[in-house]
């Protein structure tokens, strides 16, 4: 029913049941049919997807903002019709304008409104992609790897024939991994204070990927609630096999060990340049976020944990006595106490170098990025697409500009409801817009070629909303990527003659 949604009636649609029915019906049919096929798994998958689901189950969402938590299917549909940047998503994954294997063999996994999970979807072109999304109206969808064949044909192939060939190198940062060191919120909640952890993580990871590994096209995306994803899109990164991905994940991972492992950062000295640089970036964050905003060591349990990380027993005893006598001592003072007591020379066994190293380790333990490494290690891992709606919060998964990571405020990211209201407000203010509203806006978000029509530029719906800067950022990101892609292709063509003889061999 795409045509039935016009800006005038979309807000009222909430109480209309009817137009919705056929859409859900088709979706359900689709599920049953697809479910028959859906039992073919890679071993990793039931596990990882179930975990993903677990983290964002809508039922356990205490809303930080008054925005409506449940995003119903009509709103979702209106969003896909009017705002979702299908064309740009296509260009991003296709690495060019003409549809290629890069897009056609790419796996999409759709989570439908009834929570059914459809894997191995693929689409030859942007338009077919858009059409199917509108038909299925998924509550969200995820992006997997490019396969050697079309994922939809997997049943016709002998086992093991369909191989993943490339995918962006991805990273996932999730606030739940920080639960033991943040005091402001727990579980799914976030606030500006703890978002600082994500900001630091973006800075550290982004710098390392650029300077050490030489990657340039790194897209950071807000995950919609309490985390961020990175998509490294350089051709070199996309083609990495799993063991090289594991190597990068290992390189970036400094915290090791589970809840019972004790001290989790144990670095060799001298510090590796990556660690030294990260420490430089994080030092100030530690002073501000950990010591002041979070006041992490205020509670006696946390202070005890801090003491277990320090090397010298007699110094620890002195500190414990001091802190026990003034229970409300803030973290910053406690941190300063370590040095001031060390200087008084109360402990004869104290080794200043060991203490300094331990303090560095502590700074890293409390601020260094905590990555969900499994996500990065496997090419076949699925990750939520940019620009979909987080079903719990209604927020859009917008890109984050890593150069201005500090300015990003997750709580001011527009929700889908706000965006739809903005369109209506804009149209009400500019009645000229009605002419285009009359035209069924079916291609609104998909077609940008029709930008210039009879001299007057047709205004896209997203341009009427606060989503505009995000989509424009995404567009410029893609432009940069395509430019390099073209350069690579040209290079390949220039060296082609020698290689070209080969395919003719048989």
């Amino acid at each position: 029913m795409p045509h039935s949604v016009s800006p005038a009636n979309s807000p009222r649609k909430d109480d209309e049941e009817l137009p919705d029915a056929p859409v859900e019906g088709t979706a359900e049919n689709g599920v049953k049919l697809e479910d028959l096929f859906n039992d073919d798994d890679n071993e990793e998958f039931p596990a990882s997807t179930a975990d993903m689901k677990m983290q964002s189950s809508p039922a356990s969402v205490p809303e930080p903002t008054p925005a409506p938590s449940g995003v119903d299917s009509d709103i979702m549909l209106a969003f896909y019709q009017r705002l979702f940047p299908f064309r740009y998503l296509f260009q991003w994954l296709n690495h060019g304008i003409v549809p290629t294997r890069d897009f056609g063999n790419r796996e999409f996994a759709l989570t439908l409104q009834n929570d059914a999970y459809l894997r191995y979807q693929s689409y030859p072109t942007a338009d077919l992609f858009r059409k199917d999304i509108l038909k299925m109206n998924p509550s969200r969808f995820e992006i997997g790897p490019v396969y050697s064949t079309n994922p939809r044909d997997r049943k016709t192939l002998r086992g093991g024939q369909m191989k993943p060939v490339s995918k962006e190198l991805v990273f996932d940062i999730d606030m739940t991994d920080y639960d033991d060191i943040r005091t402001c919120c727990q579980k799914a909640n976030i606030c500006a204070k703890c978002w600082a952890f994500v900001t630091m993580a973006i800075k550290v990871i982004d710098t390392a990927l650029r300077e050490d590994f030489g990657f340039e096209h790194i897209l950071w995306v807000y995950s919609g609630r309490r985390g961020a994803h990175a998509w490294v899109c350089d051709p070199r990164a996309r083609n990495l096999p799993d063991d090289r991905r594991r190597a990068i994940a290992g390189y970036l991972e400094i915290l090791r060990g589970g809840s019972q492992s004790g001290k989790r950062v144990n670095l060799k000295r001298p510090l590796h340049p990556h660690v030294a640089r990260s420490l430089d970036i994080l030092k100030n964050n530690f002073a501000q976020t950990t010591l002041v905003d979070q006041d992490t060591f205020a509670s006696s349990e946390q202070a005890d944990r801090l003491l277990t990380l320090l090397p010298d027993k007699s110094l620890n005893n002195a500190l414990r006595r001091k802190w026990d006598s003034s229970p409300d001592r803030p973290s910053a003072s406690k941190w300063a106490d370590i040095d001031s007591l060390a200087k008084t020379g109360k402990s004869s066994t104290l080794n200043t170098a060991t203490l300094r190293d331990a303090k560095q380790d502590i700074v890293l333990e409390y601020t260094y990025p905590r990555l969900d490494a499994e996500v990065s290690k496997k090419m076949i891992h699925l990750l939520k697409s940019p620009f979909v709606i987080h079903p719990g919060t209604g927020r859009i998964c917008v890109p984050i500009d890593p150069r201005k990571a500090e300015e990003f405020d997750p709580l001011s990211v527009p929700t889908v409801m706000e965006l739809l209201t903005e369109i209506d407000a804009y149209d009400a203010k500019n009645p000229a817009g009605t002419t285009e509203a009359e035209m069924p806006d079916a291609e609104g978000s998909a077609v940008n070629d029709s930008d210039v029509k009879g001299g007057t530029r047709k205004m896209q719906d997203y341009e009427k909303t606060s989503l505009k800067p995000y989509i424009e950022f995404f567009r410029s990101f893609i432009a940069g990527l395509l430019k390099e892609e073209r350069a690579v292709k040209r290079e390949r063509e220039e060296t082609a003659p020698a290689v070209k003889a080969d395919p003719m061999e048989f």
Partner: protein
């Protein structure tokens, strides 16, 4: 990096071959001479050998590889492995260096040794390319063998061999070295003087091991590798080439042009790469006569090894376990004979904070998948995954934040480990000291077995004395389910004397 061309016919020559006569054209193969002791196995063998040689050579190599694999499963140190493998290699697969003979590489003995090495490698490739699992194991064992030989090679010959490979390493100029000398020093452990080394700049993808351990300086995608890290790069190259050709072999295998002489040998070989991994067969952990239900797990947990016991305690404490913890524990429970229905009931009751809906949508599937009740054909036919062995649990070197799975002896800090042991009733000072020592030497098995022997010392003494159990029944435990079974049986024996094991 396009380097497969050696297998292709030169296009100019191709045009002159008449397709009708092509099958009768006398094949001109590259003659194999073996100038070096080591071999990257790029060119397949072409000469004729007898069937007996075919089989015998393959079996000899197989024996070596199986031993190498077994060593790694038992967590042996490189020195121990060397001591174990060396005599075997001498006997079955000797490979001498050029200097060992006055004629150098021209000596017939050397040629024969090298030929055997070369041919047996390719025979085993045929035998082990069929499944993904076999390919991976074969590649791993071969890489270990190659590393072993590479390290033992004499340095001059090794250099000549490396040069013959023509790997594209770009030497770092003096100015550039001065620029980054501090970073080089800081990133490369065990380095005395930056300027003494010869440095190479290579794509970081070539040295994944160094990158993963963070022991190399990276800048803009290039790794600065000291000359002595050759080994890592050559290993990567070896594995990459081998994996690629195994992949190709597996694709060509169905079209193997062969009467029925080789196939039975090959099948026999691949079956005999006995899985040292699965020392545990299905149903082995089941205990007859024990009623194992969801409600009896609590009382049975006293027989669980520490890894499972700590999972159980965590589960009871938090009413939740993270994914890998759940998986490890579910498989163990499956191994002791808990049925799927009972297992689902067990998890349902354990996750107190979850509603039925949440449980059904988020956790039930995983449990069923582990039992092979759902999932792909392969999973269902194999009835899910086998319970994890100690080897599998120990080799997970990445227990993340807030996760509780793994082996406490390996993944807990020593203080937390001792705390945990004490909370399970192990207070004996002597034992705890022994455990600390074992863990310090990374002998996690020994630590676990030490605790087992201590906590069952009365029963063990008894069964030994009355001869109901032989030493073989009391072998070192290398599987959590064996731990449970043995513990359970011993305690039962103690309770009801006279009942047979």
């Amino acid at each position: 990096m396009i380097r497969q061309d050696f297998q292709r016919i030169d296009p100019k020559r191709r045009a002159t071959i008449d397709p009708k006569k092509r099958q009768f054209a006398t094949p001109t193969y590259k003659q194999q001479d073996y100038p070096f002791r080591l071999n990257l196995y790029d060119t397949p063998p072409t000469a004729e050998i007898t069937l007996e040689q075919f089989e015998q050579w393959a079996i000899d190599r197989l024996k070596v590889l199986a031993e190498i694999e077994a060593c790694s499963y038992r967590n042996k140190s490189p020195a121990e492995t060397e001591a174990h493998i060396n005599p075997l290699l001498q006997r079955l697969l000797p490979l001498s260096s050029n200097t060992s003979s006055p004629h150098g590489a021209a000596d017939q003995r050397l040629k024969n040794e090298r030929q055997k090495d070369h041919y047996s490698h390719f025979i085993l490739r045929l035998a082990f390319s069929a499944t993904e699992d076999l390919r991976r194991r074969f590649a791993r064992a071969e890489t270990m063998l190659f590393r072993f030989r590479f390290q033992k090679d004499d340095s001059r010959e090794r250099r000549a061999f490396v040069e013959s490979l023509s790997l594209d390493w770009e030497p770092v100029s003096d100015e550039e070295r001065h620029e980054v000398s501090e970073s080089l020093g800081n990133s490369t452990p065990g380095l005395r003087n930056v300027n003494e080394e010869i440095w190479y700049k290579v794509d970081w993808e070539k040295v994944p091991e160094l990158v993963e351990r963070r022991t190399v300086h990276l800048k803009k995608g290039k790794a600065y590798v000291p000359g002595r890290e050759q080994l890592s790069m050559i290993m990567a190259e070896f594995t990459a080439r081998l994996e690629r050709s195994l992949e190709l072999t597996s694709r060509a295998l169905p079209r193997l042009d062969e009467d029925d002489r080789l196939t039975p040998i090959l099948n026999h070989l691949s079956k005999n790469f006995g899985s040292a991994e699965s020392v545990y067969s299905e149903g082995e952990g089941h205990v007859d006569g024990a009623a194992i239900t969801a409600s009896s797990i609590d009382s049975l947990s006293q027989h669980f090894p520490l890894c499972m016991r700590s999972l159980h305690m965590n589960l009871r404490k938090n009413n939740h376990l993270k994914h890998f913890g759940r998986l490890q524990y579910t498989l163990f429970l499956k191994g002791i004979g808990l049925s799927l229905e009972e297992c689902i009931i067990f998890w349902r009751q354990s996750f107190k904070g979850k509603t039925d809906d949440e449980f059904n949508s988020q956790y039930k599937y995983n449990t069923r998948h582990a039992y092979g009740d759902v999932g792909g054909d392969v999973n269902r036919r194999g009835r899910g995954y086998p319970p994890y062995s100690c080897q599998k649990i120990l080799s997970d070197n990445n227990v993340g934040i807030g996760q509780t799975h793994g082996c406490p002896y390996r993944h807990y800090s020593v203080d937390n480990l001792v705390g945990l042991l004490q909370s399970t009733g192990v207070h004996d000072k002597e034992i705890l000291r022994g455990v600390r020592e074992d863990v310090g030497k990374q002998r996690y098995h020994i630590a676990c077995n030490r605790v087992f022997e201590w906590s069952h010392k009365g029963e063990i003494k008894k069964v030994k004395e009355d001869g109901t159990w032989t030493q073989a029944d009391l072998d070192t435990i290398v599987h959590p389910n064996t731990y449970f079974k043995r513990s359970y049986l011993l305690k039962q024996l103690a309770k009801a004397p006279g009942r047979d094991a």
